[in-house]
Amino acid sequence: MISALSPLDLDEVLRYMGCPADQAPPETRAVVEQCAREMEAAARPRWIGRVLDITLEEDGVRLEGGLLLPGQDLRKHLEGCERAAVFCATLSAQADALIRRWESRDMLHALALDCCATAGVEQVCDQVEQEIESQFPGCSFPFRFSPGYGDLPLNIQGELLHLLDAPRKIGLCASTSHILTPRKSVTAILGIARGKIQQTVRSCLSCPARESCQYRKSGGHCGIS
């Protein structure tokens, strides 16, 4: 049960804001800290997931129930897995509203809140992952994979949410342009393998998002490795 955000990692937030943590002036850090507290208070994290059998097919990964997740990258990523947990998580409309509230008056505050929310939704996903992994002792898990990584298309968002009954259960929807709303939300597929597998750690080399990654574009990295 995840009902609130734990204290956010301020260094991570600073990195998302485009500022190396060790070079952040104290005033900036103070703003980030204040925003972190505000976001922790406003966000209402919610998630929902299901564990399904999977079949690796030529065109992608077939989930139990029939949905095909197309593309080669996820297929390769899930090699060795017999099952996968499909889950989605959101920080709620209240997180979006808090950011919106500051956008018209103080952009630094708004940016900091936005990055806090990004860090927050990652935190929730990490906790969800832990919760799922604890139910499968002895198994290994390639890192979670989301639509938009590699060649797994974003237009699968709506189907994934439908599969999880997410609009009704946690109030998470996809727009016609396949954007998740509320904005600070994630859908993900976590492979589950009985045996040992390779790709358990996220790094730029194995990250399917590397080609368009904004941190790599500016010569850095997102900090997840």
Binding site: C19, G65, I99, M107, A112, G148, C173, T181, R183, S218
Partner: protein, 795 residues
């Protein structure tokens, strides 16, 4: 018996139980679309409906919960075929034993501002379902499982505009007592009753044991019958069922008839067994007639404001006499209004008046944009203010909550056009005590007009509590005897007619010295005479102080808590010029303005600019201080000496300086800080706009006038703005790979229109190569680069 007749009896009304649970038990695969069952297995539905009718249900819900075009798109089936099949099988099962409700659930997409679906699009989507349901012969409409009040409003409005059927509306709450989107039962009750629902309540959400607090809250805010259709208890964490037995469900739910609940049923996890037990428990029970005292109140989706003490209406969102706001309206800058709104609520405004009337602009369009933007950032209820009924109607349609309409008056033309709008959209209304003959001189004549307005409103079914009378302030320097007439009329309206009163206060002092002093004292006198809703500038502390003192001295502010919270740490000046908030202006630190901008010190930068303006021309400050300071920060940013947060911080400080300069220029002749227009937009389909907003701040602080079209912007709107504002530069942003194609389309349309503007693009997934491919003129890697591009293009 018809639904409305059932509601009139003193007996409980019984709905059905869960549908999804029953379908899954018959083999509906998880992840399938349940609405298709009406076509594929109508026999299942017939069995389920029959089982509920046998169990005692007087009303069954047709299997149309998700039968809207948004959700059915993936199935290739039409709304009409699903709805007609589902209603037909339900009617066949009911066969005179019960009524059939057209069930309408959420459409599967979130509405603006959290999502992207427009309000009128949602109304249109639900209207199609309603028309199909009417055609199919449904007896009533049940709107359920709503978490967004705006979506519930859209469905209810569609029901009222496309049918004569009774409508019950239930929303889904979390254990916190709020919906996923933060809507409270109070706001739901006030808003939905206003819009014409016949019964309101709760479904899904929680179990019957969690219902009493929600019921108590609903009873406080509505006179309508209350509906409960909860789940079979709270779900076990492992998904293996619910935490109470069918009997416990029936007993704890039926007990709520004693609280005054009228309509009962079950949602997820409940079966005919639950309903049969519930029927048994309810047998012989009468619904307790609980006396209700619903107060005069208005609300937003998240906050109800009862008019049970003085409530301040902030008057600042109004262009009269405000040059900066007029300019903002002309360039469609909604952010300016948002800033005004937040400043007023922080200062203590409870409700915000919104007037965007200006001859040169499309007032209705601007009103809709402003109301939508305001309700995205503030919890305060709004008072929509216009002389044009069309503008008022457009505002009332999109306003999510119960608004105040400002205003109607005693003229018959006004009564005939404004009051029907107030009734249809469930608003409260300000009634001005004037008519065809102008403002009467005497208190008696004003009271007579108030009476007329009240009578006409009540004839239309508007509650007395929703009529607020404005006895009109006249300028005391012109008519000194008038003030006492206003106060007398106000007092009599309050005591003789029993109505709430509203008054614009600031006019009283026009043409006099020491205006704050006059305003403050008149406000105090008016509150003593019975004023409930002063329309004032809450940013003037003398005015808020009068309200706080009034609450203190009339024993409304219990234990002086609010007064002490406001003033314990403030040194209140008693001089008559005291007009600003107790928070003193920042003291000069002796640092130069350039240093302050580089250091990103907002408050100090504004103060230093004020000082500098005493000796230096505004444009010299811009050219010789602000721009060089920003250039230096920009250069440091490029060399990784400072980072994005400091860049934004400096821009914020420069912004504060620019605001002071703009104020100065707006009061004097000539001079223009603008270096030219730049149109910015986040492209159609995309709502990730924080990058675009950072670019906006930077560009503005280099002196460019930014026409910000917002997010999810139609290509045609970009073309129109580029043409209208003769912008030499257009900036487009997109964050998602899926929305890059709208960026390409927007660029193509700009080129097709043959406009001379240059186009810059930016966004996380963009590359210089792709920018070239879609024929953008520039790729901006970051916000700083967008300024460099603007300098190159605009100068």
């Amino acid at each position: 018996m018809e639904f409305l007749e059932l509601l009139k009896t003193d007996r409980p009304v019984l709905l059905d139980g869960g549908m999804g649970t029953m379908l899954q038990a018959r083999g509906l695969p998880v992840g399938a679309t349940p609405e298709l069952v009406a076509l594929e297995h109508p026999d299942w539905l017939r069995e389920i409906h029959t089982a509920y009718l046998d169990a005692g249900s007087q009303i069954i819900y047709a299997n149309t919960f998700g039968a809207n075009r948004e959700k059915l798109e993936r199935t290739g089936r039409s709304v009409e075929e699903i709805v007609s099949a589902a209603v037909a099988v339900a009617k066949e099962a009911a066969a005179g034993r019960g009524l059939v409700a057209l069930d309408i659930g959420p459409c599967g997409q979130l509405l603006e501002p959290t999502g992207m679906l427009g309000f009128e699009d949602a109304v249109d989507l639900f209207a199609q379902v309603v028309r199909a349901g009417v055609q199919a012969g449904a007896d009533l409409i049940a709107i359920e499982t709503m978490t967004d009040l705006q979506e519930a409003r859209a469905a209810l409005l569609a029901a009222k505009e496309n049918s004569n059927l009774p409508v019950l509306v239930t929303m889904t709450y979390e254990a916190s007592g709020r919906t996923f989107l933060g809507c409270s039962p109070a706001a739901a009750a006030l808003t939905l009753e206003g819009l014409g629902a016949d019964a309101v309540g709760v479904n899904c959400s929680l179990g019957p044991r969690e219902m009493p607090p929600l019921v108590e809250e609903l009873l406080k805010w509505t006179n309508l019958p209350i509906v409960l259709k909860p789940n079979a208890g709270l779900p076990h964490p492992d998904g293996s069922g619910y935490d109470i037995t069918p009997l416990e469900f029936a007993q704890s739910l039926a007990a709520l008839a004693d609280l005054g609940v009228k309509v009962f049923g079950g949602c997820c996890g409940t079966t005919p067994e639950y309903i049969a037990l519930l029927s048994k428990e309810l047998a012989g029970k009468t619904v307790k007639a609980v006396p209700r005292h619903v107060p005069a109140a208005v609300c937003s989706a998240t906050q109800a404001v009862p008019i049970d003490r003085v409530r301040v209406i902030g008057e600042r969102i109004n262009p009269t006499g405000k040059k900066l706001m007029k300019e903002a309206l002309k360039r469609g800058d909604v952010d300016y209004m948002l800033g005004q709104a937040l400043a007023q609520t922080e200062a203590g405004a409870d409700i915000l008046d919104v007037n965007v009337g200006l001859p040169e602009i499309d007032e209705a369009d601007m009103m809709v944009r402003t109301v939508k933007a305001l309700q995205g950032v503030t919890d305060a209820p709004l008072q929509v203010d216009s002389t044009d009924p069309k503008v008022l109607e457009r505002a009332l349609r999109v306003y999510c909550g119960k608004a105040i309409v400002n205003s109607v008056n005693g003229e018959s033309a006004s009564l005939e056009t404004i009051l029907p709008l107030v009734k249809k959209y469930g608003a409260a209304v300000v009634g001005l005590t004037l008519d065809e003959n102008g403002i009467p001189k005497t208190a008696q004549a004003r009271v007579d007009i108030a009476k007329r307005i009240l009578e006409r409103a009540q004839e239309l079914g508007i509650r007395k509590e929703d009529v607020y009378i404005d006895c009109l302030t006249l300028t005391v320097s012109a008519e000194q005897a008038a003030a006492s007439q206003t106060l007398e009329a106000l007092h009599r309206v309050k005591t003789e007619l029993g109505l709430k009163t509203v008054l614009g206060v600031s006019n009283i002092s026009f043409g006099l010295p020491a205006r704050p002093l006059v305003n403050q004292n008149f406000l105090t006198m008016a509150m003593s005479a019975g004023l409930d809703l002063p329309i004032i500038n809450p940013n003037v502390d003398a005015m808020m102080a009068a309200v706080r003192c009034f609450h203190l001295l009339t024993n409304v502010d219990t234990d002086a808590r609010e007064f002490i919270a406001a003033y314990a740490n403030a040194s209140v000046s008693t001089s008559i010029t005291a007009g600003n908030s107790p928070a003193a202006a920042p003291q000069s630190t002796g640092r130069s303005l350039k240093d302050l901008v580089i250091a990103g010190l907002k408050g100090e930068a504004g103060q230093a600019t004020r000082t500098l303006l005493e000796t230096t021309a505004p444009m010299d400050i811009v050219d010789n201080v602000l721009i060089p300071a920003l250039d230096q920060v920009g250069a440091d940013f490029e060399q990784n000496k400072v980072f994005l947060p400091q860049l934004i911080q400096s821009a914020g400080a420069a912004q504060a300086a620019f605001e002071v300069i703009r104020e100065k220029l707006s009061t004097g002749e000539g001079g223009n800080v603008s270096r030219g227009n730049v149109v910015l937009a986040t492209v159609k389909g995309d709502i990730h706009d924080i990058g675009k907003n950072i670019v906006k701040v930077l560009l503005e602080n280099y002196g460019y006038t930014v026409i910000d079209l917002g997010r999810d912007v139609d290509p045609a709107a970009v073309v129109e703005a580029a043409r209208k504002y003769e912008a030499p530069l257009v900036g487009l942003s997109a964050l998602m790979t899926t929305t890059l194609k709208s960026m390409a389309q927007t660029i193509a349309q700009l080129h097709d229109a043959g406009l001379p503007c240059k186009i810059m693009v930016g966004g996380a997934v963009l590359t210089p190569e792709y920018a070239k491919e879609i024929s953008a003129d520039f790729y901006a890697r970051d916000a700083k680069e967008s300024v460099d591009i603007a300098k190159q293009v605009v100068g």
